[in-house]
Subunit: 217 residues, 2 copies
């Protein structure tokens, strides 16, 4: 299996396992990678034989230590390139993901480490997601959803839980970017929408759905 395809399977399994501790299901992997379930069965059997995942027929799969390392290193490359695209080339945070999806498969350790150095060893990517170090260790963020912040308690926006272009662009329009100070002024009883202030200034209402996808500290 080409490293391109292999890395994408392992990354998908990693992502799904973060949510579902049991492991990743065939159908979910298929959905994540835009392929059909039969294709996934074939692929995960091979990854199992390679010792990269734990595969048992009809069971959810999990990553082995080796598989997890490849997944995490791919995430590291992805996020470092995203930092490069934003910090050095001036792209916006909603434009970078497709490029990083390709760049993450360029495998030269020396390139990754020099890039990391060039960028000043960033700890988080432009979406606030942590960048694992070269040994695969993540620095822990401990952020919480905006929907669980107490009233009138100022916090800093540190991340997001939805990475769609439309969500990112909407946040831009509202001036909600990483680092801004946010405070919840009111929780609307009717629909759980929240009134927020941004950097002290009088703010606006956010739907529960939006607030739920904003992370703060």
């Amino acid at each position: 299996m080409s490293s391109y395809v292999e890395e994408n399977y392992l990354k998908a399994i990693y992502k799904l396992t973060e949510r579902n501790k049991d492991g990743a299901y065939t159908n979910d992997i298929a959905y994540e990678l835009n392929v059909k379930p039969g294709t996934v069965t074939e692929a995960i059997k091979k990854l199992g034989e390679k010792g990269l995942i734990n595969y048992e027929k009809y069971k959810a799969v999990t990553l082995t230590k080796a598989g997890k390392m490849i997944a995490v290193k791919t995430i590291r490359k992805h996020r470092l390139w995203e930092v490069f695209l934003v910090e050095k080339l001036g792209f916006k945070w909603d434009e970078i993901h497709p490029m990083a999806e390709e760049l993450e498969h360029i495998n030269f350790e020396e390139l990754t480490e020099r890039l990391d150095n060039f960028l000043g060893h960033p700890e988080f990517d432009p979406h606030g997601d942590p960048i694992p170090n070269k040994d695969g260790v993540f620095s822990n963020h401990k952020s919480v959803k905006l929907t669980s912040i107490a009233l009138n308690t100022p916090v800093v926006m540190t991340g997001i839980e939805n990475h769609t272009t439309s969500f990112l662009q909407h946040l831009d329009k509202l001036g909600l970017k990483l680092g801004v100070q946010v405070a919840v002024k009111e929780i609307v009883d009717f629909d759980k929408s929240v009134l927020v202030s941004v950097n002290g200034k009088k703010g606006f209402y956010l739907s529960h759905d939006i607030a739920h996808n904003i992370l703060c500290k």
Copy 2:
């Protein structure tokens, strides 16, 4: 045909056609890409159908306008990434080619143009090769081989005609890098080796073979 493979065929044909104006031969393309001649025949037929090359059975192939554009754009990406790797990440000129071979296939026009801008619109790559602009136009260098420079005429080293690691590393060892001033002090009758001075200082002898691969202006 994947853009990765397609770009490599077109690039190889471009390179071979630069030398052999008739076009590129099946066997030469095969050698260039490390594949077997039968594989090339199959590939060039498809590229012909796509309108990227002019293919006639048993004849050398040439690039169409469309094919040439893809080849040149691939070369542009390759050389821009090489500048990045040297200027920004601090790699040496003998380390960068394999990485650029991968990076050149990342196809996002906006990425290429922003990279170009970030690098200050370089005209030449770290090996002295010209970087075509986004319309595929090369700036002309007009350099000549060190073997055809008149005695005691100081010139500037601007390029090389051999890109092997061993050649590059040898030049490094001799202090022969792009931009140095070189003068031919003597041409040895016996073996056509040349005595050169470098940046005014007393120099050393270079075999004809080495001198022949050094370009000056």
